[in-house]
């Protein structure tokens, strides 16, 4: 965990939420720094959207406190929390024009007309939706609708932006376009942003820090690179990265020179950085290595560990090729450049640096 943040923009303390007897969030703590872009990442049903709705004040919490800008907002209405929210389904008011959609919150709050016009002009300029202001949402494309939805949060002039899977309803091309736009927007506004997604690419590209969630608990909260390279448990390791990390079942042989042993394979772990004294005790464990960290041929020979194998399946993916093979009787995939021509049954040599691997306890699934 990172050191405590001195003056957090959003601070969640011991937050719990139960629906009847079902516990959705359990004593959750999260501090978000001023101007930080936090991504809540996890599979469906992990509680990430629920957490966002709690921060927004759309769900009543069972226990704990929420601070925004140093103010305790635990019992405040959503409108008084200084937040703007963008929804997955855009949630634009269908009977209002874009302009009326943007100004609805301001009109409800009784903001003077000149001020409303000024803020709409600014938001429309930032998001480049000026030509659309007089249209109804039904006459907009998906990307335009999501821009308007972002604009609705923008005009409210808030401290914290909440995004609830804003790009999930868009096609792949638009999604990557808007992803860049959101990143630029964050750089321009320097607001605190909390962004919920199940898409790891969005998380990796956008976040200052990622909070990986499962079962209502934050598994790991750290910078994207740290989460990618040093996942704290097997769940985080398997959830991030595409194609997914390879997992090999085996035994850890402890001692001064610890070794990972699986059926006919022994990987020296001299270069592996154990967490605490994880390497001291022998136990069953799981060895994880990412497909892009496995080298082939001459490069493999230069690695601290290498072994002979044969190609099982070749999956060309355009930019590169995924090759499936076997190591110690277990299936392993690795990436090669697209111009490498490999065929099923080819004898190959693969190798990797154990320093880039992740070792997990087979029982607790946590990092060793």
């Amino acid at each position: 965990m990172a050191a405590a943040i001195a003056d957090p923009s959003v601070s969640i303390q011991d937050l719990s939420l139960n629906f009847g007897s079902v516990s959705v969030l359990q004593t959750l703590n999260l501090d978000v720094a001023e101007g930080e872009f936090i991504v809540l990442l996890g599979p469906s049903g992990c509680g990430k959207s629920t957490l966002l709705n709690c921060i927004a004040g759309l769900l009543d919490i069972s226990d704990g406190r929420i601070f925004i800008k140093g103010k305790n907002v635990t019992w405040e209405e959503p409108k008084d929390r200084g937040i703007g929210m963008v929804f997955q389904s855009y949630a634009l008011y269908p009977q209002m024009t874009v302009e009326k959609n943007l100004s609805f919150g301001l009109r409800v709050a009784g903001v003077p007309k000149e001020e409303i016009a000024k803020r709409i002009a600014r938001a429309a300029e930032i998001l480049q939706i000026e030509p659309l202001l007089q249209r109804k949402p039904s006459a907009l494309s998906g990307g335009q609708r999501q821009r308007v939805a972002i604009g609705r949060a923008l005009v409210r002039d808030v401290d914290v932006f909440l995004f609830d899977e804003p790009l999930s309803n868009l096609d792949a091309k638009l999604r990557s376009e808007l992803r860049v736009e959101i990143k630029l927007l964050h750089r321009k506004l320097e607001n605190t942003m909390i962004y919920v997604t199940h898409d790891q690419i969005e998380a990796m590209t956008l976040a200052d820090r990622i909070a990986v969630m499962r079962g209502g608990v934050i598994q790991q909260l750290d910078a994207p690179q740290t989460i990618y390279n040093r996942p704290v448990n097997r769940f985080v390791a398997g959830f991030l990265g595409s194609p997914a990390m390879n997992f090999l079942k085996g035994e850890l042989e402890a001692g001064d020179a610890p070794v990972f042993k699986a059926d006919g394979v022994s990987v020296p772990l001299g270069r592996y950085q154990f967490e605490g004294d994880g390497g001291r005790a022998a136990r069953p464990c799981i060895f994880g290595i990412r497909p892009e960290h496995i080298a082939l041929g001459d490069a493999a020979k230069a690695m601290p560990f290498s072994a002979e194998s044969t190609v099982e399946i070749v999956d060309p993916m355009g930019s590169d090729t995924l090759v499936w093979t076997k190591l110690g009787g277990q299936i392993v995939s690795f990436r090669v450049e697209a111009d490498k021509t490999l065929r099923n049954g080819d004898a190959i040599r693969i190798g990797f640096d154990p320093a880039r691997a992740s070792l997990f306890d087979a029982e607790t699934d946590s990092r060793l």
Binding site: G84, F87, P94, Q95, F104, G105, V108, R152, D164
Partner: protein, 309 residues
């Protein structure tokens, strides 16, 4: 190059074999169509026959009716029965026809429809979007209310109205109609509002709109179809009501249906079939017009409300 040769090959195969190609031809006079439309026409005639007899009889004079040919068209068209039914037919001491009942019915229907829909739509909105504690229990009680036979409640309500001091007035009847419309209308509105995307409601809350703000500015403008359905249900239901009308009003405030009954079932004098037919058609005219004007919206609204329960 391979593509080109394949394409030409395909074309030659198509022209050579002259097999099925293009849209499948449809036969107007297929056995299926004859059966389908034949059944529909027979059923339609069967339904329309009583209406035809009513219209035809109402346009005949009494001598012609006595001939007994109820299906034959009128030899001499007369509108006198219609005028009499509307303006001069006698019920008890009043001899001003159905016109009195018509205006009574208007004065009952309009406020009852407005009041019941106003309350039920807010009920449905609150039940769908503001999940308060005990909402489900409240909803179940309300729905059970729809299944209790009216007869059980008639006498208690008479006593309640008497104690409040509005028994026999139009106000009392309006209140009774509004209460009895509540379960089914609330169910209708609740289901409709439940089918609306919840994120819309959440967005409005983040924008700072409150209970009434969201209802009036977001939900109302989006729910025209369901309001049309509710209006049709209530207008026809209340207009056609006989039981409450006869129990909770007095002769000078009788709704049209009660008055129609009194004209048709009068025991003195000759049975004036033509006047009775005209009076009946006049009474049924309002619901009929409502259906014709709003038929399409009605179907759309019912479908929209029925999707999610």
């Amino acid at each position: 190059m391979a593509d080109v040769s394949l394409a030409t090959e395909a074309a030659t195969i198509r022209s050579a074999a002259s097999g099925p190609s293009g849209p499948k031809p449809r036969h107007r006079l297929s056995r299926r169509n004859i059966f389908l439309y034949g059944t529909l026409i027979v059923v339609a005639l069967y339904y329309l026959l009583p209406l035809y007899v009513m219209v035809v009889t109402s346009l005949k004079g009494m001598p012609e009716i006595r001939l007994g040919n109820i299906f034959s068209p009128p030899l001499e068209i007369t509108f006198e029965p219609w005028v009499k039914a509307w303006a001069t037919a006698c019920t008890g001491l009043n001899c001003d026809g159905l016109s009195r009942g018509f205006w009574n019915s208007v004065r009952i229907t309009v406020p009852s429809v407005l009041l019941s829909i106003a309350i039920a739509s807010v009920n449905g909105y609150a039940l769908a979007n503001w999940r308060f504690k005990g909402a489900d229990t409240f909803f179940i009680i309300l729905i059970v209310g729809a299944f209790i036979p009216y007869q059980v409640m008639i006498y208690p309500i008479v006593i309640i109205l008497r104690e409040i001091g509005i028994y026999g007035t139009l106000t009392g009847l309006v209140i009774v109609h509004s209460i009895f419309g509540m379960p089914i209308l609330t169910l209708l509105f609740r289901n409709y509002f439940t089918s609306m995307p919840e994120e819309l409601f959440r967005a409005a809350r983040v924008d700072g709109a409150g209970f009434w703000g969201i209802y009036l500015r977001i939900m109302l403008p989006m729910s025209l179809p369901i309001f049309v359905v509710a209006i049709i249900l209530q207008v026809t239901g209340i207009w056609n009501d006989f039981l409450f009308g006869v129990v909770y009003t007095r002769p000078d405030t009788y709704p049209m249906t009660v008055q129609l009954n009194n004209i048709v079932n009068s025991v003195q004098g000759v049975k004036e079939y033509n006047v009775n037919m005209a009076a009946t058609i006049l009474t049924g005219l309002v619901p009929l017009i409502v259906y014709f004007v709003s038929g399409k919206l009605f179907v759309r609204g019912i479908a929209a409300g029925a999707v999610k329960g």
